[in-house]
Amino acid sequence: MKLSTKLVLFITGSKLAVALLFVLSLPFLVQQIASQFTNYTLREQKKKVISDVAKNGVDYYLQGEKNFGSYTMLKEEYIAIEQVQPNEHIDTIKNSQRVFVDKDTLNYRILSYTFKNGNQNYLLEIGKATSSINQYNKPLQRFALYILVALIALTLIIDLVFTRMLIKPLAKIIRTKLLHRKFPFRTPLEKVKTSTTDFSYLDESLVLLLDKINEAFAKEKEFTANVSHELMTPISILQSKMENLLADEPLSEEVSLRIIEMMKTLDRLKKISGSLLLISRIENEQYVKNDIVKPLNLFNDIIEEIGHRLQTQNISLTLNISPDAILKNVNYDLLFQLFYNLINNAIKFNIPNGRISITDKQHENNTYELKISDTGIGIAEDQLPFIFKRFRRTNSTEAVGHGLGLAIVKTIAIYHQVEIEVESKIGEGTTFKVLFVK
């Protein structure tokens, strides 16, 4: 589940719980408020009666009678004054029942208060029916529920918008720093703008991490370049010495052959360092990609270069490339090297009288595909993931090549942001698809 969804769900849930609690406790609250308000009213009424008595004397109410009593039409309220024993002293507010002459029994909240007037002690009672106190409960509860639900709905929308805004930097960090990042990370990373410190911390950590990866990669590149480069001079010296030695005639045949063997070994060393150097130069972006290449011409050039190799095993090659196809912003020499290596492999690992076919295809999604298929010995499925690794010879039955041919292919492909797909079956052949995405 998305973080923003989770947040909104949690916030809404907790809000609903609080609102429900509030609505459920509303009767109690209303009762509390109502009873306090009732107490207040009763006391105010008491004050008025006491002040009236003080001003006009108790007879103002009694009118010569011994007791006084009065109630409203539906007996919601009543007031009574009666004489009591002089030593009695009461001042309370409590709920109690009163029975009327017509046998009507009602629940009241009653204020009882004793006061003196002249020599007499009087008890004042003011009552308010409790049913009238609780009458607002139900509608209040209903309205409160409506309003709260409406409020929750409103805040839900605000929460949704706000959490979206809050989470936005996270999505941006993931998008810019982690998703679809092509190695090596060449473009400098921009800080994602956010006022949330957690996000900026995450962002900075990621930038730091990517920098470290870049640094490690740069070190490896530098190391490869340095080693290969430093090897070139000693190789040069050895090679020249052997060449001079071989030119010193007369040499016995045996000695000549030994020198040749040494030169062959040196040649191998030279090609390995040369290939490593080439890889590191591509990785260091020392090649400019501004050539416009016609694949048909490119393949014709390559075939002219290595076509003669087909003869040794009588391999037939068919070239079916549309003459209009054009590749822009590429490096001709590197593409030459890429397809040279693929075709060379197709020849090398083919069977006598085998076939190689080179075709192209323009896909609808702006992808241009070049396909090289052979009828060679094929690659085992469990070896396929490793064929582009350096010095990994999957066809190790015989010592052919130094194991860098496909590593070079891969490096050139990455540099040109070209996809390579391989399909292969032992004994049936191998197909390489090179996909140029515009």
């Binding site: 071989l246 045949e253 040749i260 150097l277 002219e304 003669h308």
Partner: protein
Amino acid sequence: MKVLIIEDEKTLAYEMEAFLKKAFYLCDMAHTFKDALEMLGINQYDFILIDLGLPDGDGLDILKQTKKHNPEAACIILTARGNLEDKVIGLDLGADDYLAKPFYLLELQSRMQAVARRKFNINVELLALGEFNIDLQKRLVLHPTAEIELSKKEFDVLSYLLLNKNRVLTRMQLSEHIWGTYADDDYDSNYIDAHIKNIRKKLNVFGTTDWLETVRGVGYRIKHR
């Protein structure tokens, strides 16, 4: 022909000298930037071989100096830097050729010959080879009765052997000259043999090719006059 070898690796410089001496070049050597400038100040050379990676200066600066003081000299840049920019800058500054280390001394000598032919207008006429004549300019093999068609690579092999006649060329020297330094995955291939076979087959129709010798285990040689 007088050659100045500017190379800080003394061993390599001596090997170059030894090889070129056999081809009757007169060689001077300079191992530092300073020495090189001094020698260029005193002497005039036909060829200057410049290693770019000198300890006390940039070889490209020597190239600039040479163009001032000894403009008719042919300059060949030698470098282990393998930097493509160096090649472009070097050729822009007037270098006649560029060789990346490690190179075969034979290749160096052949490049020097080619530069000399171009620079000093040495017109190579038809080179006779048994019953055949080779036209290097038009890249043709001629026989009194016919014009023989060789593929581009076959002609390259034949002419390279011919230009270095009476010398055994190894398969590696030939390969590197014909195919250059494409990072080839093969280090022991017999593709040169296939070419030689084709050349013999095509020429044998018209005449004998016993001048083209196979030197067992080593390579090939054109033995001629």
